[in-house]
Amino acid sequence: MAIRRILIANRGEIAVRVIRTCRTLGIEAVLAASEADLDSLPARLADRTVCIGPGRPAESYLKVDTIVQAALGVKADAIHPGYGFLSERPALARVCEQEGVTFIGPTAAQIEAVGDKLRARAEAEAAGVPTAPGGAVENANEALVLGREIGPPLLIKAVGGGGGRGMKRVDRLEDLPAAMDMAAAEAGAAFGDTRVYLERFVARGRHVEVQIIGDGKGRVVHLGERDCSVQRRYQKLIEETPAPGLSADFRARIHKAAVQLTERLSYRSAGTVEFLVDVDRHAFYFLEMNARIQVEHPITEAVTKVDIVAEQIAIADGKGLRLKQKDIHRDGCAIECRINAEDPAHDFHPSPGTVHTAVWPSGDGVRVDTHIFSGARVPPFYDSLLAKVIVHDADRPAALHKMQRALAETRVEGVATNVTFQSEVLADPEFEKGGVDTGYLPKFLERRRSAQEVSARG
């Protein structure tokens, strides 16, 4: 079977990103767009745009039947789900399987397996991949027994959660029973699944993830790791590869762990295995797996020269895994800054509206993935990501220098953005040194606030 026409069930920069690879491959791209996105850049670039519903995601981008009907209606051979929305809903993959539409991603069963965080944890253990000390607990008594064994501080995590959602930190064992009850009730309300599990809380942890691509038959290659420790409320802001300051041996072990887990799952398509690197113990633990293309995939593309979307399409098209591990080389350092329509001066409140002026940086080793042009609207219904500025250079200092230059060239007017804030983070000596943990950004914000207060008083 040859994929000739792809329905893109997404919006924004990732829709543009997928359309570009479709163009390169000579595949027609049909965009499924909400009413709010009919004038968007991807709608202008696509070979055809079909309007799937009103702006609110629940009435458009999250409707499985409408998306599949749209694919059948325009006679698309395949659906690319991008990230977010329906990308990790087993329902979309399953209906595609039933209707004979190729889903560009893993199987429904694989999405289910990694979506259940406890099952994913069990798969990791079975694959010999280290997990943080912990496990499933059904009631407060079990939680106390396990809690004592691990020792506080602890994290109660919802089985249906992930990406920072559905977690509760417990510092004292006596608080555990009450916290357990509340966590289970909250998980039930948020995810329709009251199951929770317990894990050691890692005080100083770095978020390091490994990009993998699998053929669905048990062969997997990795494309190296990404460090995404600069986060605010679990939202990544800056990502880089390679992860600074890790030894070659540590790096090799973490890559191997990701491959072991996904080989065991006979994982198909592109995916990311997230690890928590325990700075104090020089250890890493499996966190979760993301069964989709990741926002930050371009930094991996920059250092490997692999078009990850093209590989996803090739695998979905039955062409198999064209990459061999020995042929994948990672060259230099790449950094990504997420440019969001949010206002750092007002607690990062989203700032939708119309972008009057958008000037993006360019030049050697600079890539900008965006759907924003001068006059583009930022609807209030969706996430605030405006653009990803990606730089690539020989080493980290050179890449940082280039990113500062790129951000200085960036001009976005009409909506508030975090461009200047990103530039401040890059210039911070602690970040410049490399290897910050996930607690870094909150502390940076605290320091920044005090400095501003001092200067306001002075």
């Binding site: 745009t49 079909v50 799937i52 519903g53 009103p54 039947d65 409408t66 749209a70 209606g73 325009v74």
Partner: protein
């Protein structure tokens, strides 16, 4: 010699009575590809082939040319006409069942709650109501069309 619609029908009958599953014919720059049954994955053809006029003979194997949504040509609305737009994306049917007369024709009187068509989304049938009282003036969506959300299906001249 060129192929007429009658020739194609004759060829289709021949294929149906034969033991072959598909037939490809190329003559005088015209390409005809017929395939038995609609469940089999159809061979995708590039867009806008010279064979386009024949595509109605083998609708399952010929994807329609991809047009930009913004280029969709619809008759301009006359002043005073009210649009009946599609409440959702799906396949539009003008009649309750194949072979039955359409819900409405041009000139039909409609009330706000008169059903003017059906939109199928993954085998789920949704009735579309006129939403306005008056007389059907234009019918824009064809039977079996993929209609998009808020696409104009018909136009009604409002009145008592």
């Amino acid at each position: 010699m060129t192929l007429s619609a009658k020739d194609v029908q004759e060829i289709m009958r021949l294929l149906e009575s034969s033991s072959f599953d598909s037939l490809s014919l190329e003559m005088n720059g015209v390409k005809l590809h017929l395939q038995r049954g609609s469940a089999a994955a159809p061979a995708r053809q590039p867009l806008a082939q010279p064979s386009a006029p024949l595509s109605q003979s083998a609708p399952e194997s010929q994807p329609q040319a991809v047009n930009s949504a913004v280029n969709k040509i619809k008759p301009a609305s006359e002043p005073g006409l009210a649009d009946v737009s599609s409440p959702l994306l799906g396949t539009f049917y003008r009649a309750p069942k194949p072979g039955e007369p359409p819900f409405v024709e041009i000139g039909a009187k409609v009330e706000e709650d008169t059903v003017i068509g059906i939109i199928e989304v993954m085998k789920l049938m949704n009735s579309v109501r006129a939403g306005v009282k008056g007389v059907v003036a234009q019918i824009l969506a064809e039977n079996g069309d993929l209609v998009e959300y808020s696409e104009t299906l018909m136009r009604v001249r409002p009145g008592a």
